[in-house]
Every structure is written in C-alpha cells, then in structure tokens.
C-alpha cells in the first residue's frame, strides 16, 4: 500500500486556518529555515481513505480475540473514552491555578484513594507515563530512600529470571547492578537462592506475582520477609495485577512499592503502544520520596504539594492525565464487587482455555491451577514435527486471532503465553481452542503450510534480518535515492 508521501500531489491541501487578521511578523535574516519542509500535500478525502485503509491492515480488541500474554488485552469500555474527552478535562491548561482546576485535582485524588485501597498502599503518584516508567520511578525512590538513611552500600536489585525485560533495564537506568534469582522447579522464586543473594548490598527485590508463568507464588510472605530481613525493599510489578485485584493486595503480601499499568488492569486502551499510565504506590514510610506534584487537601481545597524528599520529576507536569480519567471511570463502574469479579473471571477464563488445550499441547508448569495466563511449551512439538511456537502463532493470524506472546518467559523453551482476560465469552475460548487443535493436527499433516503461515494476512512473514542490517527508517523519494 502507498505511503502518504507517495499519494502527495503538489498544491493539494486542506483549508484549515483563516487569513491573518493582524499585520505579519518576520524573523531576522539567518534565523529562517532554509531546507524545504517535506510534508505530504493531501486533501481531507485522501487522508480519510488512507487511514481507513491502514485501519483495515491492523487488529484491535474490537476486531477479535487478543490473548497476548502479560498485556491484559481486555475490552476498553467506550464510556471511558467519552468521559476522558469531556472539554472540562481536555481544555484545562496544566499551569492553571488550583482553584480553577479542582476537578482535575479531584480525579487524581480520587483515583489515588481507590487504587491505594486496591493495592494496599498509602500514597500514589500518577506522573509515570507507562509501566516501565513506573518501575524507573519506584527504583529512584528506593535509591533515594537508602541514601537518605546514609546506607550507600545497597547497590543491587534482585530480579527473578522469569521477570519482564523492563525490570532489569529499569534497574540499570537507576545505576543498580542486577542480580538474577533463579526459579525453583515449581516456577516460583528459589528461596535458597534468594537467601543467598539477599544481603547488606540489596536495595530491593522486583517481583511480579502472579509471575510471567501465570503462577501465584505461595511462598510470597517468606520471600518478602527474606528481603526485609536483609534490609532491602520489596517492589511489586503490577503487570499481572488483573489476576488478583480485589482478592489479595500487594500491600498485604509484604510489598513496599507497586506500579500499576492502568492500560492493562484498569481497561484503558493500549493505543498501538501508548499512551499508557504507570502510577506508583508506596507505603507511608516512602511517601516523602514520591515525585513532585502530589495532590493533597489544603485549606482552600485540593492542591499540589512537593513531597519533602522528592526524587524530582520523571516527566513534565502530572502524568497522562486523561488516561487516569478513563481508569477512574472503570473503577467507579466496577466498584467493590466488580473488581474482584473481573479478577476471578480472568482466572476462570485462563484455566478454562488451558484445560481445553491440555493433551493437545504441553503446558509449562501446568500441575496446579494457573492465574490469569498460562504458558505452553512447544519444545517437543518442534522436535517431532518441526513446527515451532512461531509457526503456531502465525497460523492463528489466518483465523482472525491475535497471536499470544511468543518466546517469553525466557525460562520456557518454545513458549506461547496466553492471557484471555475476563471480557471473552466461553464461545470465543471454545473457538480458539478448536483452532489450536486444528493447527496441532496440521503440524503432523502439513507442517510446510504452517512454516509459511500466515497465508491470508496483508503480508507474509517479513525479513527482519534485512530490516536490522540495512535500516530504512524513513521514506526517501525515488529521485533522492542514491
């Protein structure tokens, strides 16, 4: 399909702005742009057709099942979009005085109160724009907390080997050394290895529970105790909170800090990769280290205050504000009963789909019940038939199903990680299971067809090696190409 630049025609335009009603102003010589401004020239109908064509070449939750593990692709309620687009929110300048922005401050204040109850934390910041940004923010708080106590020896962050890649990357950005903690045969944290790793140099443990295998670690209280006994803090990666919200709280598991992904657990859409929102909650003893602009009650209503020992600012202003509006709308809709009901529905759907696949595919760590997601291992299938996790994932595309997360977690060979979420019906799960059984049968009958899948997508498999070896990162007109 053609690019905007290839559809561009000289002199074509949309008429959007009026002629000047004041005298023109000019720059001084030497300040002006001299190179041409190579933006496409298009009419409005060109644009609407272009983006409609692009939309047909994409897949969203509205198009079909999207069981992408660890991403919680649940339905994104439309009411949330409408409320976040209210002019009373979108029209507010971020530097308006507090008395003219009480509504915005109330959104942040209320969302903090509700999310603190859900997580068992005492205070929260909404400044981080995404989950990884929240991890980074929380680890800066960890760093400042230890330094503030005069403890300069705590330079290490403990990370299980099943963790998301953002965990070690965030730790490195904060100047910490990463210590990998191996998993035990049951898929949980190896307690002996954790005991050996924890010590006077431990700044914190980063843990996702349930973890990326979809398993709740039953030793969680012992795990957090080991880290606390060593003088470290416990940080909860909230990527998988959807499985347990309203059932058990990170604060009650012994965690001191938590980040949430409002774009996963609290139904705000992913937008093709953002904007998300990654609020960080903490226990009272860490509140003084939160980023600037914490909403508090003052004499004349709500106002921003900078915590006494704040780490500073991880971005401009107060976070992805209208994303918080969407999450607030969701939490108010679900309420005290709906929140745990959603978690239980997610766990039920994952277990149901997993049972439909048992016997057809090997389940990694599949003895007990899973939480909101589960991992298949196609190691034996690949050995027997040559059909890989990638092949099965790509074959799903031909059936209108978005592939699960592939080759993650790293501790499972030929991994496929499924997270159906609570907003899928039994029919959808049955249909997906049937498709996966058909694909399994095809692996014996016609493995070649699976190696070449997908067959009905806008493109077949792309050459990723070529893309990385000879990067073409922008359009260059044919006449300018060497």
């Amino acid at each position: 399909m053609e690019l905007l630049f290839e559809k561009s025609r000289k002199g074509r335009r949309c008429d959007l702005l009026p002629p000047l009603d004041v005298p023109p102003a000019h720059l001084m010589a030497g300040m002006e742009r001299e190179i041409p401004l190579d933006l496409p020239e298009l009419s409005e109908v060109d644009l609407t057709r272009h983006y409609s064509a692009l939309e047909r070449r994409a897949h969203g939750v509205n198009n079909g099942f999207y069981p992408l593990g660890s991403c919680t692709m649940k339905y994104n309620p439309r009411i949330n979009e409408e409320l976040a687009a209210l002019p009373g929110f979108t029209g507010v300048h971020p530097t308006q005085s507090a008395d003219t922005a009480q509504g915005c401050l109330e959104v942040l204040y209320l969302a903090e109160e509700l999310l603190c109850e859900i997580t068992g934390m005492d205070a929260m910041t909404f400044q981080p724009a995404a989950g990884a940004h929240g991890e980074f923010t929380a680890l800066l708080m960890v760093k400042k907390y230890h330094l503030d106590r005069g403890d300069t020896a705590r330079t290490k962050i403990l990370v299980p080997d099943s963790a998301h890649g953002t965990n070690p990357a965030s730790a490195a950005m904060c100047g910490f050394t990463v210590v990998n903690v191996p998993s035990n045969p049951e898929g949980g944290v190896d307690l002996a290895a954790l005991r050996a790793a924890a010590g006077p140099d431990t700044a914190a443990l980063m843990l996702t529970n349930p973890n990326t295998l979809g398993l709740f670690d039953p030793n969680i209280l012992e795990i957090t105790q080991i880290v606390h006994d060593a003088g470290g803090l416990c940080y909860y990666d909230g990527a998988n909170l959807n499985a347990v919200m309203g059932v058990v709280r990170p604060g009650d598991m012994g965690f001191d800090l938590v980040h949430l992904n409002l774009h996963k657990t609290f139904s705000t859409p992913h937008g093709g990769g953002g904007p998300g929102s990654g609020p960080v909650g903490c226990k009272k003893f860490l509140k003084d280290f939160l980023p600037v602009f914490h909403v508090e009650e003052g004499a004349d209503g709500l106002e921003f205050r900078d915590p006494a020992k704040s780490i500073g600012s991880v971005k401009g202003f107060y976070g992805n504000f209208t994303v918080v509006v969407k999450a607030l709308s969701y939490i108010l809709t679900l309420g005290a009963q709906g929140i745990p009901e959603a978690a239980k529905g997610a766990v039920l759907n994952a277990n149901y789909l997993r049972e439909q696949l048992r016997g057809t595919y090997d389940i990694a760590y599949g003895d007990g019940p899973c939480m909101h997601e589960f991992v298949l291992t196609l190691h034996d299938l690949k050995k027997q038939t040559g059909v890989s996790a990638m092949d099965v994932a790509k074959a799903l595309i031909d059936h209108g199903i978005h592939p699960p997360t592939m080759y993650f977690p790293l501790i499972v060979e030929e991994a496929l990680m499924f997270e159906p979420t609570e907003t899928e019906s039994r029919e959808t799960l049955d249909e997906a299971a049937a498709v996966l059984r058909d694909i399994r049968a095809q692996a014996d009958a016609d493995p070649e067809a699976l190696h070449a899948a997908p067959h009905h997508a806008p493109i077949s498999r792309p050459d990723e090696v070529k893309a990385a070896r000879h990067p073409v990162l922008r359009y260059t007109p044919p006449e300018d190409q060497a």
């Binding site: 959007l16 720059l27 401004l37 933006l39 496409p40 020239e41 644009l47 939309e55 070449r57 994409a58 897949h59 969203g60 939750v61 409408e82 409320l83 209210l86 300048h93 971020p94 530097t95 308006q96 915005c104 109850e117 724009a129 995404a130 989950g131 940004h133 800066l140 760093k143 890649g165 070690p168 990357a169 950005m173 347990v244 774009h263 937008g271 093709g272 990769g273 500073g312 971005k315 401009g316 202003f317 607030l328 108010l332 745990p340 529905g345 039920l348 277990n351 994932a393 595309i397 592939p403 907003t423 997908p454 997508a457 792309p462 050459d463 990723e464 893309a467 990067p471 922008r474 359009y475």
Partner: protein, 437 residues
C-alpha cells in the same frame, strides 16, 4: 455495576465444572488464606449513566478559559477535525504494540510515516516511534550521549524548568553530573558555556525558542559544544520548525521536543508526545521503538519493529533504555496533524503564531507599566514587566474568561499567543488589562 464480562453466572459455573472445580476458591488455592481479602473498601459499582453523571460533575468543577494567553510548555492550537476522527478509530485505539507485523501493518506504516515527518520537521536522519513527552525525551537524549570518559550534562538555564528538573532526576538515577549554563539577557550565556565545556562533558542541551520565547544563536552554541568534543542536543517547538532553522541545519546530534502542539489538547498536561530524532551516527543509540522498512517472504514492501537489539526485551539490563509502551497514539495524532496541515498549512500556523504574538505584545505594552523585558525577535512567547501583583492581574483576567500569562520567579510575565487568538480577542485582552491594573 458489572465488570464487562459477557459470561453469565450460570455460564461461569458451567465452566468451573468443566475444569473440575467446585468454586472459584479452588482456583486461588495457591494464595495463602490469611492474606485473602474478604471485601474491598470501595463504593458499590455504578451504571454507565451514573458514572457519566459523576465524572461530568467533576469536570464541571474546572474552569475552561475561552481565551488563553499562556503557553509555558503546553500550547493551545487548532486541532483539525480529521485528527480526532482518525485517532478515534477503534482499531488504532485498542491495538497493542505492533509486535506481530503481519497483523499490524497499518499501525507500523503509520509510525514509519510519523518517523519520516519528524525527520522532515527537524532536518535529522532518523526518528524513533516516540517517548513519553518532551521532558523525558530530553533526559533520554542526554543518556544517549554518555560514554566512558564523558558523563557531564550541560543544561541551558533558558530551558523549560520542568525539562531541567526531569533531566536532573534521570541523572540522579544514571549517575551523570548535571551543570547549568546560566542565562544572560534572556539568552544562554555563550561565554559561560565555553567556560564549562571540558573533556568530561557528554552533551549540551539547548531549547529553541527558549523558555522566554527568545530565538537562540543555536548554530554558534552548538559549534562551541562540538569544538570541545561534546554532543549537541536541541529541544525544539515543532510548530516553530516550519519557519526556524532546524536542528539539522544547526548541526545538532539529537533533536527532541514536546509534540503536544501537533494536534493534542491541553488535557491538564497529558498525554503529550516526546519526539526524538538523531543523526545517522547515533541511530543505534536511540531509545524505544523504531519502525523500519523491509520486504516480506513474497517480496512485498513491509514494515517491522527493528533494531530491537537495543531494547529491554532482548538486552534486559544492557538495553539502551527501559522504554516499552511509548505514546503511539499521540504519535499518530501528530502524523495526521502534520499531513492535514501540509507544508503550507504548518507554515501558515507558525506565521500566524508569530503575527498574533507580535500584535499581542504591542497591545499589552500599550498599557502603562507593561514593557518588553527583552529586545529582538521571538516566536510566540514573550516576557513583559508587570506593574502590579501578578495574582491581581491574573484574577482580574480570569473573571473575564481569560487565562493570563504565567508569572515568572522574578515577577515578570511569560505570555503566549497562537493562531487561536484573534485580533478581537487580543483587543479585548488589552481592554481587560486596563480595567484590572
């Protein structure tokens, strides 16, 4: 009320039985019973209509000013109707990061087009798919410039205070030292910059136009940085790029900026867009997602996420950054905005900003006690003196539906005008100021 689950209670019970469980508690067997909650202390769930009423009520507590003469990092511009219509499309809204290229060509192509337009705007070679906002983009850019010998960041004091604060916060994390280049007459002090440059300096960050609206001699300052072996980062206003010399023309190694003016509403500070582009030499150091062109198995043009060996899901603690989710839909917003405006439209917007700012400055300074603090050209922001307490002026203007200028620490006022401020509105502003002071 409800939780958007399609399955009925009866269906859920049947599913439980199908997997051999009696109750939901069986599924949570791994959770130690003493930790389980018996209830959440939250309000009861609400119907859609009730939630709408609650949030409309909260929104109504805000003041939305019909007339805005303030920027300072967040700018009110015209948003073409096509922008909202395209970015509101359900599929774009609800898709995830385009890991699966075969199913995500639409999203990938739109990012590729965005990257191309950011390169065109800034005069740079390569753009990433976006960063959280302008301030975090500046901080990521500074981190890109670090090498074994050079770990000092020089920040212009004429950069936005929030950008400076964000860079300082990131540097608290990664251990880079931050030094501030002072301001002289509203410009970054060139002599002070030269004095601060040594062989430990990794980069120098300059904002153009600067926080006070002034147009810096960017090329000369950049040359000074380069002469000392440091990289040169420019933080630029994207609308101004239609008329001002680009970072590419000024010799910048990295261009970043706040993309909010490109079709995003004020929204109390977010979501906004951090754009980020670099020279070819620094491409592989860019953080976050990058889309590249390739071919598929059948030789057709295709787009993929590429250069992933930089990224956290491959490199873990050795990654160039931890960025995972970025601001994809905001990047698409910027792309649709730029495509709708086109080269002529964007230039028209920029020229309209300059003309209305000039007219506003004249009208404001016609009132006794208001004088321009700095001589010389500016883009769409300028600083004046204030003959009264700024709070008094702002309160008076607010009563008349006007969001007035941002008071600076020294008691002066930072004003802004864009294509949204008509001549009549500016005349009314002058009248209002006279009534208030």
């Amino acid at each position: 009320m409800g939780s958007y689950q399609p399955s009925t209670q009866a269906e859920r019970q049947a599913m439980l039985e199908a997997i051999g469980c009696q109750s939901m508690d069986d599924l949570y067997a791994q959770v130690p019973p003493e930790m389980r909650l018996d209830h959440l202390d939250l309000p009861d769930g609400k119907s859609e209509l009730e939630v709408r009423r609650v949030l409309e009520g909260i929104a109504a507590k805000n003041t939305v000013f019909p007339s805005v003469f303030r920027g300072a990092g967040a700018y009110k511009h015209y948003i073409p109707a096509i922008v909202k219509s395209v970015t509101g499309k359900e599929t774009f809204l609800t898709a995830y990061t385009p890991y699966q290229a075969e199913l995500s060509q639409g999203v990938l192509q739109s990012i590729f087009e965005y990257q191309t337009m950011i390169c065109a705007l800034t005069g740079m070679d390569a753009s990433n798919a976006s960063i959280y906002d302008g301030a975090s983009a500046a901080a990521e850019a500074a981190a890109m410039c670090r090498d074994r010998k050079r770990s000092t960041v020089l920040l212009s004091a004429a950069a936005h205070p929030m950008v400076r604060r964000t860079v300082e916060t990131y540097c608290f994390g990664n251990g880079m030292e931050v030094k501030t280049v002072p301001v002289k007459n509203g410009f970054t002090d060139a002599q002070a910059l030269t004095d601060l440059l040594d062989d430990t300096v990794a980069c120098f960050y300059l904002q153009q136009p600067n926080y006070f609206g002034r147009i810096e001699s960017a090329r000369e300052l950049g040359e000074a940085a380069h002469a000392a072996g440091a990289k040169f980062i420019m933080g630029v206003n994207p609308i101004a790029m239609a008329v001002l010399k680009t970072p590419g023309e000024c010799g910048a190694d990295i261009a970043v900026g706040e993309g909010q003016p490109l079709g995003m509403p004020l929204s109390f500070g977010g979501p906004y867009l951090g754009f980020m582009a670099a020279t070819a030499a620094l491409t592989r150091k860019l953080p976050g997602r990058i889309v590249g062109e390739t071919t598929d198995h059948d030789g057709r043009r295709a787009y993929v996420l590429t250069l992933q060996a930089r990224e956290q899901h491959i490199r873990r603690e050795k990654a160039s950054s931890n960025v995972c989710s970025n601001q994809a839909l905001c990047a698409m917003t910027a792309a649709v905005y730029l495509a709708a405006m086109g080269p002529d439209g964007l230039r028209q917007a920029a020229e309209s900003c300059m003309a209305h700012a000039r007219y506003a400055a004249q009208k404001v300074c016609d009132v006794p006690g208001f004088d321009m603090v700095y001589p010389g050209p500016y883009f769409h922001e300028f600083v004046t003196t204030c003959p009264c307490k700024p709070e008094k002026l702002l309160a008076g203007l607010a009563k008349r539906g006007i969001l007035g200028p941002l008071p600076l620490e020294d008691g002066n006022l930072l004003w802004c005008a864009t294509e949204m401020n008509t001549r009549d509105e500016i005349d009314a502003l002058e009248q209002a100021i006279r009534e208030v002071v």
